[in-house]
Symmetry: D3
Subunit: 69 residues, 6 copies
């Protein structure tokens, strides 16, 4: 499936942390950059997300804030 | 100011496109990755964003979807 | 690709409206329900979205507000 | 109150799951479709949301991603 | 209708700006604070939003970033 | 750092509630208004957020829904 979301960053899961409802998943996208995603625990379990797995971090462009130093 | 948002990717603006209300800004974050941000035209003009400028793409972790191939 | 986003509603595009930067796409998901999506014009053009096409509206669960009558 | 949010889907709560801070609420909107909402536990308790209750899932159009098969 | 969204700020519209698809609406919430909302032009027209009208700015708690000086 | 996000409301933290993954932080912004933010527990701990601290609630304009009475 092709998505309208403009941002897709490929990486490797370095660590999922599970809460009761939500979970936090860290993805190493290379170049010293990490992406943290907060999704439901059900999604982590449903997709079988675990350390070392290759995933894509997908972000809609309307969710990206820019900061100027 | 330190932000609660967990994701910050540094890059260089490669091209802003201005509409009447919204604008699209593309940021080269290196490693062959680009981030597209849709913000208001007022923000682009207020911050003076233009090609070649260094910016940070800031994304709250609750906005990041994960995809598994 | 399998997505962590919990909500996926299949439907048919009934009308895209293009602005300079953003576009609005209406999707008939059946049962008398319509979903409106505001995405970038580039996404509409990149995916070739047009009336009559089958698409999925994908929504992260953290974006859904509940209202009680 | 009339809302600017373009999407409102009426349904019946089929199951709330409570965590310490967040909660997940599933809503059957008919036609074989379900909507999952991740809101704060305080909202679930404040509105008294429980199985069988009629609610509206409200989604801002800027939060809807489209996917093409 | 009672909403799960935790934040509601009452104010007065000081100026809507219309684009082709999106619109920007500024709301004076008192105490020297203003809220800017980017919604679809259709919403502005559908609700008949105009300068001087009383509205509520509604924000889901998962959309609020905190910054520490 | 200057942010593209149009909304910034200064206030005082009145209470953080910690879950395993997520946390809820309430900020008194004066004028009888409170803002609730749902962020990760890691952010609360990383920034050392605690009662009485001055913070800014930062909200992207695309996340603000308007309601008309």
């Amino acid at each position: 499936m092709q998505l309208s979301a403009r941002n897709r960053l490929k990486g490797t899961i370095t660590g999922p942390t599970l809460g009761e409802v939500m979970a936090e998943v860290t993805v190493d996208i290379g170049g010293g950059n990490e992406i943290v995603s907060a999704i439901t625990r059900c999604s982590v379990e449903g997709l079988g997300l675990r350390e070392g797995m290759t995933v894509h971090a997908i972000i809609k462009s309307t969710e990206v804030i820019l900061g100027k130093e």
